[in-house]
Symmetry: C3
């Protein structure tokens, strides 16, 4: 049955669909199936890089390798005969040798500095270069800049609050090869409408009553970095004429979850001091932030190819001491299994089965169209033809 569902729908069926047939209204967004270049993307945990490793980013295969403490990123293809360098060996410090013929590249520059099987006078030495990618490490993560411009400092692509305040604990999960276009993943993340219905039965919201619907505005901050959803109205139960009543009101659920119930509920002063205009916000190049009282959740939709993305979820706490220990416990016992596991797993399911366009948008999708508009105005690829 589930196999059935993955069969491509009939073109004739899709064409018959009413609504928007493509995204030509947002041409640069439409062209960006493999992501926006010239941004820093988080890729993997620093601690997991133990040998040359291949990752796919924005359609390119990239080898990551740590040498003498520093991480390097090279295009993962030896120009000689097309063998992945990530199968190779660091024969000389600061280099990688292709496993096939020992073509040896300087990790820092990508320059072919020796060819073992052609001797020290090999004429090709110094005449071949493998593209390299800027790399940074921060918060226990390896970040790669994919693009053709001089990279800005990593901080330019970090949430500013992570630069200003010092994260004390960073937990998270990274899933490579998550099925679906990164844009569908990002739209799902910032999508105003779905959380209340798709996630209504998730254990993560066991004690939190979800609203039926809300009236929402999307606001840009003055630096034009974040789009934030702001609720103007929240409806907790509702009557649908001719159909019946609908609400997620249950005797064990509270509108603010356990915050108003549990004694000593902690609000992190760092997070309070950020004065975020709303709980959920998104920014370039595909980074969502959800603010909780005592931790911040981030998720990046890192483009791999047109059909897959790398899903990077973080939970960040600014607490120290006992409060940090408390967060650490809650992260492993509750947040990781129920939020970073089950809850966002429901999103993964939708992202993998949805097919859009064609699409027929509705009122709450203003959150999606505002995001597309932000992508359309994305500054770093503006002078290039196409968005990617």
């Amino acid at each position: 049955m589930s196999d059935d569902k993955r069969r491509t729908a009939e073109p004739s069926d899709l064409e018959r669909s009413s609504g928007r047939q493509d995204w030509r209204t947002w041409p640069r967004y439409q062209a960006a199936a493999k992501g926006f270049r010239n941004y820093w993307y988080p890729v993997m945990w620093s601690r997991d890089l133990r040998r040359p490793t291949q990752v796919t980013l924005l359609g390119s295969r990239i080898m990551l390798h740590r040498s003498q403490g520093t991480v390097y990123a090279l295009h993962d293809r030896c120009p000689h005969r097309g063998v992945p360098l990530s199968y190779g060996t660091e024969e000389f410090p600061g280099t990688i040798s292709c496993p096939y013929h020992g073509w040896t590249y300087e990790l820092a520059t990508g320059n072919l500095c020796a060819v073992i099987t052609d001797g020290p006078d090999s004429p090709i030495r110094g005449r071949v270069r493998v593209p390299t990618y800027p790399v940074a490490e921060r918060f226990g993560l390896i970040w790669v800049f994919v693009g053709d411009q001089e990279p800005p400092p990593l901080a330019a692509d970090l949430p500013e609050e992570l630069v200003e305040f010092e994260p004390q604990l960073v937990g998270g999960r990274i899933n490579a090869g998550r099925v679906g276009d990164w844009r569908l993943a990002a739209e799902n993340g910032f999508d105003e409408g779905h959380a209340k219905y798709l996630h209504r039965g998730a254990p993560w919201v066991t004690f939190r009553q979800m609203p039926v619907w809300t009236r929402t505005r999307v606001v840009r901050d003055e630096r034009e970095v974040w789009l934030t959803r702001v609720q103007d109205e929240t409806h907790w139960d509702e009557h649908f004429p001719g159909l019946g009543d609908w609400s997620m009101k249950r005797w064990w659920k509270r509108r603010n979850g356990l915050a108003d119930v549990l004694p000593g509920h902690y609000r992190d002063p760092a997070i309070e001091s950020m004065k975020l205009p709303g709980r959920v916000a998104i920014r370039m190049p595909g980074l969502l932030r959800v603010a909780y009282d005592n931790f911040l959740h981030y998720e990046w939709y890192v483009p791999e190819d047109e059909h897959h993305h790398r899903y990077v979820q973080l939970g960040v706490s600014f607490s120290t001491g006992l409060r940090a220990a408390d967060f650490w416990l809650r992260y492993w016992l509750v947040i990781r299994p129920f939020f970073h596991g089950h809850f966002t797993g429901q999103d993964s399911w939708m992202v993998s089965v949805m097919e859009a366009p064609p699409e027929r948008l509705y009122r709450p999708d203003a959150s999606i169209t505002e995001w597309r508009r932000m992508c359309e105005q994305e500054p770093r690829n503006r002078d290039r033809e196409g968005g990617s």
Copy 2:
């Protein structure tokens, strides 16, 4: 080895094949790879529909769902973002809600009657419609009409004998996703030549001697509904000059199987009264009937996509009382494992490995070409361009 066999043959090899390269002689048949629209097709057992279920018919994904006793069929795609409705829930009686945002459709009409996450005043309410399909239930089966015309009564697409006489017991097997174009399956079913050779060793015919070859005519009934194979000559053993003798004569086999041997062999008077002109007959839109002395076998080749069909086999008895009990026992002990299992499994094997066209037809294939001619004259899609 079997993997080897599935590799596509060389185009150059095929082009070199003598014989017919395509079916352009039968243009509407050639165009009907996904089936003929505007017919009723049997799809699944009524008792198996316990929750929203996806099926693929004639290239379309369709959700079947039973609500308050009635079965409904909707195109299985929410126009909002393309999520299958069959993953959804019946939130209000007589409706289905998409699992993603709670877009809620009336099962009977496909009209968007509410959007839970946009409140009762949602402006899109009433402005979106999902295509629906006519559904019927009969003989314990769910039937769906796929097309763009006003559907005829279900009886128009049933074998008339099932309308006139009351089936008492209906056993059967339904296999979704059987590999192969529905046309190759139908041709295999009505194919005069293969049964005698392909099935010669099947347990189902242990006690029945298969002929070597027959001279066969194909006749249409006067209503032009059924094509029936009629044997004018039957050869039970044969000498092939230069090669040798060939027959399936064995001491334990009889030309009429066990009918003349077992005392009290029963001939069903209802079936006798039908005065069928021959044992094996076929009709639109891909329904084969094989008449046995005391039950009728039917098989439908229900098109799914160009490469798969749903194979619906029925065994129908008109007996009552003890005779019905006897049929029930024989169905489960003999007919189901040896006929609906092994014997037609040999057909499944051939349908999955054959590649035609190109093809080189022979004398007994008149049964196939007559069937193609009947499809060519098929009345319900005549005014449309193409057959599907």
Copy 3:
């Protein structure tokens, strides 16, 4: 991770690669993705042919079947409805009958000599023919000639030393469906550069020191049949300025392996008398020879389709008596697991992951370009358009 590596590289990435983008300099070689026709190819062990068997050669599916001691090869497709004949049965001596309708072909000619299900007077009898392929057996192998010309004697496509001297023992391994274009496999085999680096740690060379690099010429014999690599210089350890020293010198390794160490090392006089100009040689249509002191290794890259080849490895000894027993023991205990298993398995790995063109050749690749030049001059398909 390994899945990641199989994803197709970005076209844009590849286009950006410097070096040669395609093989248009060698047009007939470039066109020969499915192999060169009009040659004899070894296919399988004679002893393994126990029933009708399908193999794929040069893009064609071929049935091999032994009848009354003789092996026959037919195009593995019944022209009637495209069913593989290799599923069939030898109903009459010297024939094969298609499993579907009993179309019966003479194995020697491919002529349709009877159709069981249409009787002895079947009008189609004698009017259909399945293509046949010349077959030979030698050295315990079945050889098939694929082409459109009158085949030369098998000996024309055998290494001449196997015709002149009588092989006493032939061991070997045949792998069907090895991943990769046969040309990449052949180039890997004759490739001067890789052995010293890729295989440096293989158990097969435990006691043999590999050089760092060599200066090599490629010579053609006067009959223009074999290309042989000849080392003019061999460098056993080397300093790479700015990087360090590199050598495979280890206390337990010798430049000639165990030959100079083990008492009584045997040099086969037959092999010595061949006066081969070098250890490694290649010839049409894709046959590599590696000469050891007391056995010859051969490997054929038999094209299957554009992406797979059949890898046929032989170890041939000319010794008799005790020396033959010694070779037999060494073949099964050492050569087969460590050479025909692990060592050439490293080659299989490279052939399956390399992507060329695009490519950037280096000095030792003269061995590859000479081989391409030989293919370009290949005589048997010269008058045809394209090389295959």
